[in-house]
């Protein structure tokens, strides 16, 4: 090992992180070696995963606490020197990976019991450990090659996670889409790092000087935005995301949505951090992409009636919110406004944590619902709050958090972004800064509507199917990880001050030059926030304490009866609001982007026959843009087949023609000879 630099804490942190990656890589081995249906194999795998995560968390905390980054040079690794490193940013992104990853492993062992899934339980556990390890390596990579190798490992490991149930056609289709998108992203990243190596002098991540050609910088930004944007699920590039998330087992969806998407954000943050003097337009583009993703993400979410797909669209929304923060910070760096940088980056980073926490919580909750009723269809649920009270309560915590309502964590990060955007809009800054703030506000309102719909249809009312009526509460090993996630959501919500130093370190690691060591607490009264949150919780507790006896007495006095329905005797659960009808008021405003497809019942005569109504919302980008585009391409290729006749001579002729053209291009006979000159 040559060249290991940095303060002790950082070096220890990096080593712990790498050690954790090693343990996690091997964590699936016991499950692989022991028989398919054996419980002990999967138990040992979970234990190893937890041990790896614990070691990694220690490392991440050490990295956050360290005063300077650590750097490790490994000679002769992939084509030249391998560069690994650890700084506060790596530590910051590693924490949710390990926390959510460890809890997901615990949840997954019960959720995807090897006794019930002997076919793919072992592969699932092995790929899960591999995915976590590749995420850690990605965070530690400090040169283009190591980064790409970790990136590709992550893409493949998560692909195998997504296609766990490969026997189902829609899962295979979702997996293919994911794989194609992953590789499109990889292509962009290969080009990106080649360009970065040219601009920054070598594949090691080095600062790109302000003297670089503006065109090259623009290309760099575009490649980063597309390459990392695909992975993060930024709006026009998101089409792989909903199906992949819906098709994967729920703890994998939690990992994908909570953590893997964040690697796109991490890549963007890391790459943009290398550029010494970013132009203002980058920040504007990021703000626009963020606003678009946030707003239309939630609009699409509102229209879904598949629980996991709905949550997946909310991931797009939250990635948009994170991008808003990042865009604000980039704009701040371009204009030299330290307060924009600090507030934007604080919101961006903290929302990375928050989204990882509440989205995993929600996916675990959705998994529990799926586990209990066997369906992801929202319209087949109902009344689960009575049958699964713990799941319902925990899901509610996640729902409040994702709606960015105080006193939970989503509120804190979105408040930071709001304050930053408000400073940009109200100060001497340009007027456009008000637009993203408006988009963020509208997004929050629509998110509330969406989760009122989800919670109302799934957990309240009366059961819409027999499965929902017979649902049982999720077992404790599935509830415990959810409870921990909910506790983390509450903790960040009421005591953001506790977590502020970590965020400050992350900001400082990203933008050393802007005097970002100010601390975001200066711009955001964290202490007052804590007081307000505590008061809110106290108030809620008081009200519920006061109301509880009233409710109990009311229930004792009256027998449980169906709601009064004006004397109509044929009331059935199907008379309740459905997910679509609840959201129709809002989604009908967005028909131009959602393009819903309806199959209306045909009602003829006084006694019409039994009929049905069907509506579906396909992903607009995929169905209206990509699929027709690919079909057109295939038709074009069919025409090319005419030139493909199997004659060797003909193929050789094509080669000759290509060679002659190349020769002509390189020799350029139409130029005078002097121009080529030389000797």
């Amino acid at each position: 090992m040559s060249g290991f630099e940095g303060p002790l804490a950082a070096r220890a942190g990096l080593l712990l992180l790498l050690g954790a990656a090693f343990v996690l890589t091997l964590s699936g081995v016991p499950a692989l070696l022991l028989p398919r249906r054996s419980l002990s194999g999967s138990r040992w795998t979970v234990r190893l995963t937890l041990a790896g995560c614990a070691v990694g968390i220690a490392g991440a905390v050490a990295l956050l606490a360290a005063s300077a980054p650590a750097a490790l040079r490994l000679p002769g690794l992939f084509l030249g020197e391998g560069q690994l490193g650890g700084d506060a940013l790596s530590g910051f992104f590693a924490l949710p990976v390990l926390f959510v990853g460890g809890l997901g492993a615990v949840y997954g062992r019960t959720y995807w019991d090897p006794r019930r899934h002997p076919r793919h339980g072992r592969r699932l556990q092995f790929s899960y450990g591999l995915a976590l390890a590749s995420l850690l390596l990605l965070l530690a990579a400090r040169d283009g090659f190591s980064f790409l190798i970790a990136w590709e490992t992550m893409a493949l490991a998560t692909y195998f996670l997504v296609v766990t149930e490969e026997a189902r056609a829609e899962v295979r289709a979702a997996g293919w889409t994911y794989l194609l998108y992953s590789h499109a992203a990889l292509l962009c990243l290969v080009a990106l790092f080649a360009l970065q190596a040219q601009l920054g002098g070598g594949f090691a991540f080095g600062a790109i000087p302000a003297t670089a050609a503006p065109k090259a910088l623009t290309a760099l930004f575009a490649l980063a935005l597309v390459g990392f944007g695909i992975k993060a699920g930024v709006m026009p590039l998101h089409s792989w995301l909903p199906d992949a998330h819906a098709s994967a087992p729920s703890h994998v969806s939690a990992l994908m949505s909570g953590v893997v998407l964040k690697m796109g954000i991490y890549g963007l943050v890391r790459t943009l951090g290398l550029v010494a003097a970013p132009p203002l337009s980058w920040g504007v583009v990021l703000l626009a992409a963020g606003g678009l993703s946030a707003f239309f993400g939630v609009v699409f979410a509102l229209a879904q009636h598949d629980l996991k797909k709905l949550l997946a669209y909310h991931s797009i929304e939250n990635i948009g919110i994170i991008l808003l923060g990042l865009g604000l910070a980039m704009a701040g760096r371009a204009t030299g406004r330290a307060d924009w940088v600090v507030l934007g980056m604080a919101g961006c980073l903290l929302h990375v944590w928050n989204h990882a926490l509440f989205k995993s919580l929600l996916f675990f909750g959705a998994g529990s619902v799926l586990h209990a009723t066997g369906s992801r269809e929202i319209d087949l649920q109902g009344g689960l709050a009575k049958r699964m009270p713990a799941t319902a309560g925990l899901f509610l915590v996640g729902a409040v958090a994702i709606c960015a309502l105080p006193p939970l964590n989503g509120f804190v990060s979105e408040l930071a972004i709001f304050l930053g955007l408000a400073r940009a809009a109200l100060g001497p800054g340009p007027a456009w800064a008000a637009l993203p703030a408006a988009a963020l506000a509208a997004t929050g309102a629509l998110a509330v509507a969406c989760f009122v719909k989800v919670y109302g249809i799934v957990f309240l009312g009366t059961p819409r199917s027999e499965a929902a009526a017979a649902a049982k509460e999720a077992p404790a090993p599935m509830l415990r990880p959810m409870a921990l996630l909910a506790a983390a959501c509450v903790a960040i919500g009421i005591a953001p001050g506790l977590f502020a130093p970590a965020v400050d370190r992350g900001i400082a690691a990203w933008a050393e030059d802007t005097g970002a060591l100010l601390g975001w607490g200066r711009f955001l009264p964290l202490g007052r926030l804590a007081v307000v949150a505590a008061l809110l919780i106290l108030l809620t507790a008081l009200i519920s304490l006061r109301l509880a006896p009233l409710c109990r007495r009311a229930r004792e006095r009256q027998p449980e009866l169906p709601t009064w329905d004006c004397g109509f005797a044929g009331a059935s659960p199907r008379l309740q609001y459905t997910a679509s009808s609840f959201a129709e008021l809002i989604t009908s405003r967005f028909g131009w982007v959602l393009a819903p497809r309806f199959r209306w019942p045909r009602i003829e005569g006084p006694f019409p026959e039994a009929s049905s109504f069907h509506s579906e919302i396909a992903d607009s980008v995929l169905e209206r843009l990509l699929r027709p585009g690919v079909r057109w391409l295939v038709r074009l290729s069919e025409r090319l087949r005419r030139y493909h006749q199997g004659s060797l001579q003909q193929y050789l002729l094509y080669v000759v023609i290509a060679l002659v053209i190349l020769l002509l291009v390189s020799l350029q006979p139409w130029w005078p000879v002097e121009r080529l000159g030389g000797s």
Partner: protein, 213 residues
């Protein structure tokens, strides 16, 4: 010395035209054998001091191209018992005209190439280009598997002639490796020829078109 080299290089060009204009497979193979021999002599003459490396390479090339491979081809020709006519896709006369045209173009193009190596023989670069072009022409317009092999050989001869310019810069192993590749390639091809013949009772590569997707 220089004039001898010029004559040899001109011979190289002539042999190209002979191979293009040959109506019998046997004369094509003989032409390409002669070309191999000429190349070996050119290699020795061009590098007058005749270092060991050049000598070994030239000898290996002569043995391989002027004797071993032609012998294998003649053997294959006897074994498969086919008609000895070339049966080109493009007539012999048009082939010759095209060959002459490409030679002229090669001379024109060579003037534009930024080669400083004029001291060897001014004709060597155009001759090499013309040989490559002739090889490609043979590959494209001849349909029998054996004539395809001859086309590849002519193509390789052209590349070898280029290599003569760089013989001091190019590592010995690379050239030896190229020769070995060529030998193995021809070896495999002659086996394939045998099998194609047994399968289809013909050596017409157009029969292989059924293998397409």
């Amino acid at each position: 010395m220089q004039s001898l080299l010029e004559i040899l290089v001109a011979g190289l060009l002539l042999v190209n035209l002979v191979a293009l204009g040959a109506g019998r497979i046997g004369s094509m193979v003989r032409a390409v054998a002669l070309q191999g021999l000429l190349l070996g002599v050119i290699a020795i003459v061009a590098h007058g001091e005749a270092s060991n490396r050049v000598l070994v390479l030239a000898l290996a090339s002569v043995v391989l191209k002027a004797w071993l491979i032609p012998a294998m081809l003649f053997r294959a020709l006897r074994q498969v018992a086919i008609r000895r006519e070339v049966e080109p896709l493009l007539g012999l006369l048009p082939s010759l005209v095209l060959g002459a045209l490409t030679t002229a173009l090669a001379v024109a193009a060579a003037g534009r190439l930024p080669f400083a190596e004029e001291r060897l023989a001014p004709l060597l670069v155009p001759a090499a280009l013309a040989t490559v072009a002739a090889g490609l022409l043979l590959l494209v317009t001849r349909r029998k598997a054996i004539t395809q092999v001859v086309g590849y050989l002519v193509l390789e001869n052209g590349i070898f002639a280029f290599g003569l310019l760089l013989v001091e810069a190019m590592p010995f192993l690379v050239e030896a490796g190229v020769l070995l590749d060529l030998f193995v390639g021809i070896f495999v091809l002659s086996i394939i020829i045998h099998h194609i013949n047994r399968e289809f009772a013909s050596l017409d590569t157009r029969r292989l078109s059924q293998l397409r997707e």
